[in-house]
């Protein structure tokens, strides 16, 4: 990795309160359809199923009754130093835009899957088959995300298209599209979460709630010690949950 992190005036970030996540899957369902991921008949085969947002179950590994569980929703972590970008031979994935969202351009992707292997968070999915919708259901495709054929890699884009929508709305309202109000741009999963476990905003903008949230003593990021410098923060008051966010030696 180059280690030369690009800085952007805006840094979109997500803050996920694990202590509020019930693991219901509404975020996953919201993501699937927002981003035109086809319904998958064999969805229980998690090696083949595509879900840009995935809820993982965490446990403290103790036996009943000391056992505890937590749910961890995992979108693309939008690393500051993305390991996927440097391995892409065709520049189909880049981190070069204000906002710091790691882009993925499907027509340019050659399906080599180096990025899938490089991503420490398993956020990248390879399309093994052409997507098929039940008859008529293609009418419900979202116009905001293009449909991917088989053979390319796809991943969460922080519903990047919603940012463009928000910027357009700001322009129409005569506001500065580069200085959006808190909540003007949120991803589909964040918007629909019934528990309010997910928050979204510009991490650098003091007017945005997430700017404060990431300063919480309970906030942490996944595999921080890899130096990926992700833009997704997690919050949990439970220490064991926070400790699962990285690999620790027994002595630590």
């Amino acid at each position: 990795m180059s280690g030369q992190k690009k800085e952007f005036p805006i840094t979109w970030g997500m803050v996920i309160d694990i202590d509020k996540c019930t693991g219901c899957g509404a975020c996953m369902a919201s993501c699937q359809t927002e981003n035109n991921v086809e319904p998958q008949r064999e969805a229980s085969n998690k090696l083949r199923a595509t879900s840009w947002m995935t809820v993982y179950e965490l446990t403290n590994d103790k036996a009943y009754p000391d056992h505890d569980i937590a749910y961890l929703p995992r979108p693309c972590q939008q690393c500051g130093n993305p390991p996927c970008v440097s391995v892409c031979p065709v520049i189909a994935t880049e981190k070069n835009e204000n906002g710091g969202i790691v882009s993925q351009v499907y027509p340019r992707c050659i399906g080599c899957r180096y990025c899938v292997a490089a991503c420490p968070y398993h956020v990248r999915y390879f399309g093994w088959f052409d997507p098929v919708w039940p008859e008529g259901m293609e009418k419900t495709l979202s116009p905001l995300t293009s449909v991917r054929p088989r053979g390319v890699v796809e991943k969460c884009s922080f519903c990047h298209h919603r940012w463009t929508l928000a910027k357009d709305a700001a322009r129409a309202a005569g506001k500065d599209p580069e200085d959006l109000d808190d909540g003007a741009y949120v991803t589909s999963c964040v918007q629909n979460c019934p528990s309010g476990a997910l928050a979204f905003g510009d991490l650098k903008n003091p007017k945005h709630k997430v700017h404060e949230l990431i300063k919480s003593p309970y906030a942490y990021r996944l595999l921080e010690r890899l130096g990926t410098d992700t833009q997704v923060y997690y919050i949990s008051r439970r220490e064991w949950v926070r400790k699962l966010g990285d690999n620790y030696l027994k002595s630590e």
């Binding site: 880049e94 070069n96 835009e97 204000n98 906002g99 969202i101 882009s103 993925q104 351009v105 499907y106 027509p107 905001l144 995300t145 293009s146 449909v147 884009s157 990047h160 298209h161 463009t164 929508l165 910027k167 357009d168 709305a169 700001a170 322009r171 129409a172 309202a173 599209p177």
Partner: protein
Amino acid sequence: MEEKRSNSAGGVGGLVLCTLIGFVGALVVGWVIFPKMLYSEKTQPIRFSHTVHTQLGIDCEQCHHLGPDGRFAGLPSTESCAECHGEETGDTSANGKEIDKFIKDYVKTGVQVPWLVYQYQPDNVFFSHAAHRGFECTKCHLDVAKMDNPPAYYENRLSGYSKDTMKMWECERCHASMGTSNACYVCHK
């Protein structure tokens, strides 16, 4: 020997001539015939006259406007056309007949007109009209306001896109000259 020599003597000139013919032929094929073969010409389902409407003092924005959310509304719906053209006119002039055709085929049936859009971009392009409001429409679009007949629509037989669809290099060139970012996600979705 004789024959061969004579052949080779005339051959140099022949060779040059043939090469020239090949060269010019290729140019003709490439510049004149190929484009005609590559595109199929289509006409609009309704012969909409922009000039008639502009002469009535209708602003472009009345039909092609930005929505309150900043999204470009694109083409007007059959319903909004029907606000003026609700009933058949019975007019037998060429324009009158065309209006009646529109009313009979679309207004009465409630179907949207399958207009051929000269500029449609691929699905993976997000174009914001709001962001480009500072430019004249004609910088990118055909100046249809001055046209009585809609221009022919040329569809690329290979790619399926309109001949007038802007290519990515054109977007990039302008972005670069304006100092706007050319990052993928500025335009792609």
